[in-house]
Amino acid sequence: MDSKEISSKNKASFWSFKLSAHAMTLIPAAVGINYVAKAFAEGLKLPVWLGSLGTFLASMLAGPVAGAISGFINNVIYGLTLSPVSTVYALTSIGIGLAVAWLNQRGFFKRPVTVLPAAILIALVSALISTPLNVIFWSGQTGIAWGDALFASLVAKHVNIWIASFLDEFVLDLLDKTVVAYLAFLIYKQLPKRLVYFFKGTEE
Protein backbone atom coordinates (compact mmCIF):
# COMPACT_ATOMS: atom_id res chain seq x y z
CA MET A 1 0.00 0.00 0.00
CA ASP A 2 1.56 3.37 -0.94
CA SER A 3 0.61 6.75 0.55
CA LYS A 4 -1.68 7.57 -2.42
CA GLU A 5 -3.61 4.32 -1.98
CA ILE A 6 -3.97 4.92 1.76
CA SER A 7 -5.04 8.51 1.13
CA SER A 8 -7.89 7.52 -1.19
CA LYS A 9 -8.95 4.89 1.36
CA ASN A 10 -9.24 7.71 3.88
CA LYS A 11 -11.55 9.82 1.73
CA ALA A 12 -14.63 10.63 3.75
CA SER A 13 -17.55 13.03 3.35
CA PHE A 14 -17.09 16.65 4.56
CA TRP A 15 -19.19 16.20 7.73
CA SER A 16 -18.25 12.56 8.42
CA PHE A 17 -17.97 11.78 12.14
CA LYS A 18 -15.97 8.58 11.57
CA LEU A 19 -12.31 9.26 12.31
CA SER A 20 -10.00 7.98 9.59
CA ALA A 21 -6.36 7.14 10.26
CA HIS A 22 -5.19 10.40 8.69
CA ALA A 23 -7.52 12.48 10.91
CA MET A 24 -6.44 10.45 13.94
CA THR A 25 -2.82 11.42 13.42
CA LEU A 26 -3.53 14.93 12.13
CA ILE A 27 -5.48 15.90 15.30
CA PRO A 28 -2.60 15.34 17.78
CA ALA A 29 -0.24 17.19 15.41
CA ALA A 30 -2.73 20.11 15.19
CA VAL A 31 -3.06 20.20 18.99
CA GLY A 32 0.74 20.22 19.26
CA ILE A 33 0.90 23.15 16.80
CA ASN A 34 -1.67 25.07 18.88
CA TYR A 35 0.33 24.42 22.01
CA VAL A 36 3.74 25.29 20.58
CA ALA A 37 2.46 28.36 18.66
CA LYS A 38 0.89 29.69 21.87
CA ALA A 39 4.09 29.14 23.84
CA PHE A 40 6.08 30.74 21.01
CA ALA A 41 3.81 33.83 20.94
CA GLU A 42 4.16 34.16 24.71
CA GLY A 43 7.94 33.84 24.38
CA LEU A 44 8.05 36.63 21.78
CA LYS A 45 5.68 38.74 23.94
CA LEU A 46 3.22 39.16 21.07
CA PRO A 47 -0.19 40.70 21.86
CA VAL A 48 -1.87 37.64 20.27
CA TRP A 49 -2.33 34.02 21.46
CA LEU A 50 -1.90 32.07 18.19
CA GLY A 51 -3.35 29.12 20.12
CA SER A 52 -5.75 28.20 17.32
CA LEU A 53 -3.27 27.93 14.42
CA GLY A 54 -3.33 24.12 14.49
CA THR A 55 -7.14 24.10 14.65
CA PHE A 56 -7.27 26.36 11.56
CA LEU A 57 -4.89 24.07 9.64
CA ALA A 58 -6.69 20.86 10.73
CA SER A 59 -10.04 22.31 9.58
CA MET A 60 -8.56 23.43 6.26
CA LEU A 61 -6.90 20.06 5.65
CA ALA A 62 -9.36 17.50 7.02
CA GLY A 63 -12.70 19.28 7.49
CA PRO A 64 -14.90 20.47 10.36
CA VAL A 65 -14.90 17.34 12.54
CA ALA A 66 -11.09 17.06 12.66
CA GLY A 67 -10.86 20.83 13.28
CA ALA A 68 -13.48 20.81 16.02
CA ILE A 69 -11.91 17.80 17.77
CA SER A 70 -8.44 19.41 17.54
CA GLY A 71 -9.78 22.55 19.20
CA PHE A 72 -11.65 20.61 21.87
CA ILE A 73 -8.72 18.34 22.77
CA ASN A 74 -6.35 21.31 22.74
CA ASN A 75 -8.30 23.03 25.51
CA VAL A 76 -8.76 19.80 27.49
CA ILE A 77 -5.03 18.96 27.36
CA TYR A 78 -4.04 22.58 28.09
CA GLY A 79 -6.45 22.50 31.03
CA LEU A 80 -5.07 19.21 32.35
CA THR A 81 -1.44 20.29 32.11
CA LEU A 82 -1.07 24.06 32.53
CA SER A 83 -4.21 26.10 33.10
CA PRO A 84 -7.35 24.25 34.31
CA VAL A 85 -9.56 27.33 33.79
CA SER A 86 -8.95 27.30 30.02
CA THR A 87 -10.88 24.01 29.75
CA VAL A 88 -14.17 25.94 29.66
CA TYR A 89 -13.17 27.49 26.32
CA ALA A 90 -13.19 24.04 24.65
CA LEU A 91 -16.64 25.03 23.34
CA THR A 92 -15.19 28.13 21.65
CA SER A 93 -12.49 26.02 20.01
CA ILE A 94 -15.14 23.65 18.61
CA GLY A 95 -16.95 26.68 17.13
CA ILE A 96 -13.71 27.98 15.59
CA GLY A 97 -12.94 24.58 14.02
CA LEU A 98 -16.42 24.35 12.47
CA ALA A 99 -16.38 27.97 11.24
CA VAL A 100 -12.95 27.67 9.60
CA ALA A 101 -13.91 24.48 7.74
CA TRP A 102 -17.21 26.04 6.56
CA LEU A 103 -15.47 29.20 5.32
CA ASN A 104 -12.66 27.18 3.72
CA GLN A 105 -15.20 25.05 1.85
CA ARG A 106 -16.71 28.29 0.50
CA GLY A 107 -13.32 29.44 -0.80
CA PHE A 108 -12.56 32.16 1.76
CA PHE A 109 -8.97 30.91 2.18
CA LYS A 110 -8.12 30.92 -1.54
CA ARG A 111 -7.15 34.61 -1.92
CA PRO A 112 -5.56 37.05 0.56
CA VAL A 113 -8.38 39.56 0.09
CA THR A 114 -11.06 37.10 1.30
CA VAL A 115 -9.05 35.96 4.34
CA LEU A 116 -9.84 39.21 6.20
CA PRO A 117 -13.68 38.82 6.10
CA ALA A 118 -13.18 35.15 7.08
CA ALA A 119 -11.06 36.24 10.07
CA ILE A 120 -13.74 38.77 11.12
CA LEU A 121 -16.46 36.10 10.92
CA ILE A 122 -14.35 33.62 12.92
CA ALA A 123 -13.63 36.31 15.55
CA LEU A 124 -17.37 36.96 15.72
CA VAL A 125 -18.14 33.24 16.23
CA SER A 126 -15.41 33.01 18.87
CA ALA A 127 -16.66 36.11 20.73
CA LEU A 128 -20.30 34.96 20.58
CA ILE A 129 -19.44 31.60 22.17
CA SER A 130 -16.91 32.99 24.67
CA THR A 131 -19.07 35.87 25.98
CA PRO A 132 -21.59 33.71 27.92
CA LEU A 133 -18.66 31.68 29.32
CA ASN A 134 -16.87 34.88 30.40
CA VAL A 135 -20.02 36.22 32.05
CA ILE A 136 -20.91 32.94 33.79
CA PHE A 137 -17.40 32.09 34.99
CA TRP A 138 -15.55 35.40 35.41
CA SER A 139 -18.28 38.08 35.50
CA GLY A 140 -17.47 39.14 31.95
CA GLN A 141 -13.69 39.53 32.09
CA THR A 142 -11.15 37.79 29.84
CA GLY A 143 -7.99 38.10 31.96
CA ILE A 144 -6.13 39.95 29.18
CA ALA A 145 -4.97 43.39 30.35
CA TRP A 146 -6.00 45.69 27.51
CA GLY A 147 -9.24 43.82 26.78
CA ASP A 148 -10.18 44.07 30.45
CA ALA A 149 -9.23 47.78 30.44
CA LEU A 150 -11.85 48.27 27.71
CA PHE A 151 -14.33 46.16 29.73
CA ALA A 152 -13.69 48.28 32.85
CA SER A 153 -14.16 51.55 30.97
CA LEU A 154 -17.44 50.32 29.44
CA VAL A 155 -18.79 49.02 32.77
CA ALA A 156 -17.82 52.34 34.37
CA LYS A 157 -20.04 54.06 31.78
CA HIS A 158 -22.92 51.72 32.80
CA VAL A 159 -22.82 49.73 29.56
CA ASN A 160 -24.59 46.35 29.93
CA ILE A 161 -22.15 43.70 31.22
CA TRP A 162 -22.96 41.33 28.29
CA ILE A 163 -22.19 44.01 25.69
CA ALA A 164 -19.03 45.10 27.54
CA SER A 165 -17.86 41.48 27.80
CA PHE A 166 -18.64 40.83 24.12
CA LEU A 167 -16.63 43.90 23.03
CA ASP A 168 -13.76 42.93 25.38
CA GLU A 169 -13.63 39.45 23.78
CA PHE A 170 -14.25 40.64 20.21
CA VAL A 171 -11.39 43.18 20.06
CA LEU A 172 -8.97 40.53 21.38
CA ASP A 173 -10.27 37.87 19.00
CA LEU A 174 -10.28 40.19 16.00
CA LEU A 175 -6.53 40.83 16.21
CA ASP A 176 -5.67 37.24 17.13
CA LYS A 177 -7.85 35.57 14.50
CA THR A 178 -6.68 37.96 11.76
CA VAL A 179 -3.02 37.14 12.44
CA VAL A 180 -3.81 33.40 12.75
CA ALA A 181 -5.97 33.37 9.58
CA TYR A 182 -3.21 34.99 7.49
CA LEU A 183 -0.55 32.73 9.02
CA ALA A 184 -2.71 29.65 8.30
CA PHE A 185 -3.35 30.89 4.73
CA LEU A 186 0.39 31.42 4.07
CA ILE A 187 1.42 28.13 5.70
CA TYR A 188 -1.28 26.18 3.82
CA LYS A 189 -0.01 27.62 0.51
CA GLN A 190 3.54 26.51 1.39
CA LEU A 191 2.66 22.95 2.47
CA PRO A 192 3.96 20.21 0.16
CA LYS A 193 1.12 19.12 -2.16
CA ARG A 194 1.49 15.45 -1.22
CA LEU A 195 0.73 16.37 2.43
CA VAL A 196 -2.34 18.38 1.44
CA TYR A 197 -3.66 15.61 -0.82
CA PHE A 198 -2.94 12.98 1.82
CA PHE A 199 -4.87 14.71 4.60
CA LYS A 200 -7.66 15.88 2.33
CA GLY A 201 -8.03 12.32 1.01
CA THR A 202 -8.07 13.51 -2.61
CA GLU A 203 -6.18 12.24 -5.65
CA GLU A 204 -3.28 14.27 -7.08
Binding site: M24, P28, F151
Partner: protein, 258 residues
Protein backbone atom coordinates in the same frame (compact mmCIF):
# COMPACT_ATOMS: atom_id res chain seq x y z
CA UNK B 1 -0.66 14.40 33.66
CA UNK B 2 2.75 12.85 34.15
CA UNK B 3 4.56 11.13 31.26
CA UNK B 4 6.08 8.21 33.13
CA UNK B 5 4.97 6.04 36.00
CA UNK B 6 8.58 5.77 37.24
CA UNK B 7 8.65 9.30 38.69
CA UNK B 8 5.26 8.82 40.32
CA UNK B 9 5.56 7.12 43.71
CA UNK B 10 2.04 7.55 45.06
CA UNK B 11 0.61 6.64 48.45
CA UNK B 12 -1.55 3.52 48.14
CA UNK B 13 -4.87 5.35 48.56
CA UNK B 14 -4.08 7.84 45.76
CA UNK B 15 -3.07 5.04 43.40
CA UNK B 16 -6.27 3.15 44.27
CA UNK B 17 -8.51 5.94 42.89
CA UNK B 18 -9.17 5.42 39.19
CA UNK B 19 -8.64 8.25 36.62
CA UNK B 20 -12.36 8.68 35.83
CA UNK B 21 -13.18 9.13 39.53
CA UNK B 22 -10.47 11.80 39.72
CA UNK B 23 -12.01 13.59 36.72
CA UNK B 24 -15.47 13.33 38.32
CA UNK B 25 -13.97 14.79 41.49
CA UNK B 26 -12.93 17.89 39.50
CA UNK B 27 -16.49 18.16 38.18
CA UNK B 28 -17.93 17.74 41.69
CA UNK B 29 -15.70 20.45 43.19
CA UNK B 30 -16.40 22.80 40.27
CA UNK B 31 -20.16 22.33 40.66
CA UNK B 32 -19.89 22.81 44.43
CA UNK B 33 -17.94 26.05 43.91
CA UNK B 34 -20.59 27.37 41.51
CA UNK B 35 -23.47 26.25 43.74
CA UNK B 36 -21.97 28.10 46.71
CA UNK B 37 -23.78 31.41 46.44
CA UNK B 38 -21.90 33.29 49.16
CA UNK B 39 -18.29 33.82 50.18
CA UNK B 40 -18.22 31.69 53.39
CA UNK B 41 -19.56 28.56 51.65
CA UNK B 42 -17.21 29.13 48.67
CA UNK B 43 -14.28 29.33 51.11
CA UNK B 44 -15.30 25.99 52.67
CA UNK B 45 -15.31 24.34 49.21
CA UNK B 46 -11.98 26.03 48.43
CA UNK B 47 -10.45 24.76 51.68
CA UNK B 48 -11.58 21.19 50.92
CA UNK B 49 -10.06 21.32 47.43
CA UNK B 50 -6.87 22.86 48.84
CA UNK B 51 -6.49 19.97 51.31
CA UNK B 52 -6.94 17.54 48.40
CA UNK B 53 -4.25 19.38 46.42
CA UNK B 54 -1.90 19.46 49.43
CA UNK B 55 -2.12 15.66 49.71
CA UNK B 56 -0.15 15.37 46.45
CA UNK B 57 2.78 17.09 48.24
CA UNK B 58 3.84 18.95 45.11
CA UNK B 59 3.52 22.60 46.09
CA UNK B 60 5.87 23.77 43.35
CA UNK B 61 3.57 22.46 40.58
CA UNK B 62 0.53 23.78 42.44
CA UNK B 63 2.03 27.28 42.61
CA UNK B 64 2.88 27.09 38.88
CA UNK B 65 -0.79 26.45 38.03
CA UNK B 66 -2.05 29.19 40.39
CA UNK B 67 0.41 31.71 38.93
CA UNK B 68 -1.22 31.20 35.53
CA UNK B 69 -4.54 32.55 36.85
CA UNK B 70 -3.18 35.09 39.31
CA UNK B 71 -3.44 37.98 36.85
CA UNK B 72 -7.11 37.19 36.17
CA UNK B 73 -7.82 37.15 39.94
CA UNK B 74 -6.02 40.48 40.49
CA UNK B 75 -7.88 42.21 37.64
CA UNK B 76 -11.14 40.81 39.02
CA UNK B 77 -10.50 42.41 42.42
CA UNK B 78 -9.64 45.69 40.70
CA UNK B 79 -12.46 45.83 38.15
CA UNK B 80 -15.25 44.31 40.26
CA UNK B 81 -14.18 46.33 43.32
CA UNK B 82 -14.43 49.56 41.32
CA UNK B 83 -17.18 48.97 38.78
CA UNK B 84 -19.41 46.02 39.77
CA UNK B 85 -23.06 47.08 39.12
CA UNK B 86 -24.12 46.12 42.69
CA UNK B 87 -21.52 48.40 44.35
CA UNK B 88 -22.76 50.92 46.92
CA UNK B 89 -20.76 50.53 50.19
CA UNK B 90 -17.29 52.08 50.09
CA UNK B 91 -14.63 49.75 51.58
CA UNK B 92 -11.43 51.80 51.11
CA UNK B 93 -9.88 54.39 48.81
CA UNK B 94 -6.56 54.44 46.99
CA UNK B 95 -5.75 57.91 45.58
CA UNK B 96 -9.02 58.94 43.90
CA UNK B 97 -10.27 55.35 43.41
CA UNK B 98 -12.93 54.03 45.79
CA UNK B 99 -13.22 50.26 46.12
CA UNK B 100 -16.63 48.93 47.18
CA UNK B 101 -17.31 46.05 49.57
CA UNK B 102 -19.91 44.32 47.36
CA UNK B 103 -17.63 44.25 44.31
CA UNK B 104 -14.68 42.97 46.35
CA UNK B 105 -16.86 40.21 47.86
CA UNK B 106 -18.07 39.27 44.38
CA UNK B 107 -14.48 39.18 43.06
CA UNK B 108 -13.40 37.06 46.04
CA UNK B 109 -16.24 34.60 45.28
CA UNK B 110 -15.06 34.35 41.65
CA UNK B 111 -11.45 33.90 42.81
CA UNK B 112 -12.55 31.04 45.11
CA UNK B 113 -14.17 29.34 42.12
CA UNK B 114 -11.04 29.67 39.97
CA UNK B 115 -8.78 28.36 42.74
CA UNK B 116 -11.15 25.46 43.49
CA UNK B 117 -10.96 24.36 39.81
CA UNK B 118 -7.15 24.63 39.91
CA UNK B 119 -6.73 22.75 43.22
CA UNK B 120 -9.07 19.90 42.30
CA UNK B 121 -7.47 19.60 38.83
CA UNK B 122 -4.00 19.49 40.36
CA UNK B 123 -4.93 16.31 42.25
CA UNK B 124 -5.70 14.60 38.93
CA UNK B 125 -2.65 16.09 37.19
CA UNK B 126 -0.19 15.10 39.91
CA UNK B 127 -1.48 11.59 40.55
CA UNK B 128 -2.17 10.23 37.05
CA UNK B 129 0.10 9.09 34.24
CA UNK B 130 -0.72 9.16 30.52
CA UNK B 131 -0.35 5.39 30.10
CA UNK B 132 -2.54 4.68 33.14
CA UNK B 133 -5.20 6.97 31.73
CA UNK B 134 -5.04 5.37 28.29
CA UNK B 135 -5.34 1.84 29.68
CA UNK B 136 -8.22 2.75 31.98
CA UNK B 137 -10.18 4.63 29.30
CA UNK B 138 -9.79 1.74 26.82
CA UNK B 139 -10.86 -0.78 29.46
CA UNK B 140 -13.87 1.43 30.27
CA UNK B 141 -15.16 1.02 26.72
CA UNK B 142 -13.66 3.94 24.79
CA UNK B 143 -12.44 2.85 21.36
CA UNK B 144 -8.71 2.54 20.65
CA UNK B 145 -9.00 5.37 18.08
CA UNK B 146 -10.48 7.80 20.63
CA UNK B 147 -7.91 6.87 23.26
CA UNK B 148 -5.10 7.20 20.71
CA UNK B 149 -6.22 10.70 19.67
CA UNK B 150 -6.48 11.85 23.29
CA UNK B 151 -3.28 10.35 24.60
CA UNK B 152 -0.90 10.66 21.65
CA UNK B 153 -0.98 14.46 22.11
CA UNK B 154 0.83 14.05 25.41
CA UNK B 155 3.61 12.08 23.73
CA UNK B 156 3.84 14.34 20.65
CA UNK B 157 4.12 17.61 22.59
CA UNK B 158 7.64 17.05 24.01
CA UNK B 159 8.75 15.95 20.52
CA UNK B 160 7.37 19.18 18.99
CA UNK B 161 8.91 21.36 21.69
CA UNK B 162 12.26 19.74 20.93
CA UNK B 163 11.72 20.39 17.19
CA UNK B 164 10.89 24.05 17.95
CA UNK B 165 14.06 24.41 20.01
CA UNK B 166 16.18 22.93 17.20
CA UNK B 167 14.62 25.23 14.56
CA UNK B 168 15.12 28.30 16.76
CA UNK B 169 18.78 27.36 17.29
CA UNK B 170 19.24 26.82 13.54
CA UNK B 171 17.67 30.23 12.77
CA UNK B 172 19.94 31.88 15.34
CA UNK B 173 22.96 30.18 13.79
CA UNK B 174 21.90 31.62 10.41
CA UNK B 175 21.99 35.10 11.96
CA UNK B 176 18.26 35.74 12.47
CA UNK B 177 18.38 37.87 15.62
CA UNK B 178 15.32 38.35 17.89
CA UNK B 179 13.52 41.43 16.49
CA UNK B 180 12.61 44.42 18.62
CA UNK B 181 9.65 45.90 16.74
CA UNK B 182 6.27 44.16 16.89
CA UNK B 183 5.95 43.92 13.09
CA UNK B 184 9.41 42.33 12.76
CA UNK B 185 8.58 39.86 15.53
CA UNK B 186 5.38 38.83 13.68
CA UNK B 187 7.40 38.54 10.42
CA UNK B 188 9.93 36.30 12.21
CA UNK B 189 7.14 33.89 13.16
CA UNK B 190 6.90 32.46 9.67
CA UNK B 191 10.46 31.12 9.17
CA UNK B 192 10.22 29.27 12.49
CA UNK B 193 6.64 28.02 12.36
CA UNK B 194 6.61 26.79 8.74
CA UNK B 195 9.38 24.14 9.07
CA UNK B 196 7.95 23.06 12.43
CA UNK B 197 4.47 22.57 10.98
CA UNK B 198 5.67 20.81 7.82
CA UNK B 199 7.78 18.43 9.92
CA UNK B 200 4.86 17.75 12.30
CA UNK B 201 2.51 16.97 9.40
CA UNK B 202 5.10 14.73 7.75
CA UNK B 203 5.49 12.79 11.01
CA UNK B 204 1.67 12.60 11.29
CA UNK B 205 1.49 11.19 7.74
CA UNK B 206 4.09 8.54 8.57
CA UNK B 207 2.23 7.62 11.76
CA UNK B 208 -1.03 7.33 9.80
CA UNK B 209 0.53 4.95 7.28
CA UNK B 210 2.12 2.90 10.08
CA UNK B 211 -1.22 2.69 11.93
CA UNK B 212 -3.04 1.43 8.84
CA UNK B 213 -0.36 -1.09 8.00
CA UNK B 214 -0.55 -2.43 11.56
CA UNK B 215 -4.33 -2.81 11.28
CA UNK B 216 -5.30 -0.25 13.94
CA UNK B 217 -9.01 -0.67 13.13
CA UNK B 218 -8.99 -4.42 13.80
CA UNK B 219 -12.21 -5.12 15.77
CA UNK B 220 -10.53 -8.10 17.45
CA UNK B 221 -7.92 -5.85 19.09
CA UNK B 222 -7.64 -6.58 22.81
CA UNK B 223 -7.36 -3.67 25.22
CA UNK B 224 -4.14 -3.52 27.25
CA UNK B 225 -4.68 -4.99 30.71
CA UNK B 226 -4.74 -2.70 33.74
CA UNK B 227 -1.54 -2.66 35.79
CA UNK B 228 -3.26 -2.05 39.11
CA UNK B 229 -6.52 -2.67 40.89
CA UNK B 230 -8.74 0.29 41.71
CA UNK B 231 -10.91 0.57 44.78
CA UNK B 232 -14.60 0.00 43.84
CA UNK B 233 -14.27 2.14 40.70
CA UNK B 234 -17.82 1.66 39.38
CA UNK B 235 -19.28 2.44 42.80
CA UNK B 236 -17.15 5.61 43.02
CA UNK B 237 -18.35 6.72 39.56
CA UNK B 238 -22.00 6.25 40.50
CA UNK B 239 -21.57 8.00 43.84
CA UNK B 240 -19.77 11.00 42.31
CA UNK B 241 -22.25 11.30 39.42
CA UNK B 242 -25.15 11.17 41.92
CA UNK B 243 -23.53 13.96 43.97
CA UNK B 244 -22.97 16.05 40.82
CA UNK B 245 -26.65 15.62 39.89
CA UNK B 246 -27.71 16.69 43.41
CA UNK B 247 -25.56 19.84 43.13
CA UNK B 248 -27.01 20.59 39.69
CA UNK B 249 -30.51 20.22 41.18
CA UNK B 250 -29.65 22.54 44.08
CA UNK B 251 -28.21 25.12 41.66
CA UNK B 252 -31.32 24.92 39.46
CA UNK B 253 -33.58 25.39 42.53
CA UNK B 254 -31.51 28.40 43.68
CA UNK B 255 -31.83 30.01 40.24
CA UNK B 256 -35.60 29.33 40.01
CA UNK B 257 -36.57 30.37 43.57
CA UNK B 258 -34.23 33.38 43.95
Amino acid sequence: MRNNAEDLALPAWQAAIDPISKLLLILLFTLAAFTAGNLPSAIIVLAASFILALLTKNLHALWGMCAFSLFLILTMLLIQGLFWPGNHTAAFSVASLTFCQEGLDHAALLACRILTIIFSSSFFIQTTTISENARYLENSGLSYQQVYVLMSVCYILPQMQENLRKIQLAQKARGIAPAKSLLSRIKNLFPVLLPLIVKSFQQAMNRSIALQLRGYANPKRRAASLKQEYWKDKFCHRLLIANCLVLLGVKACLIIFN
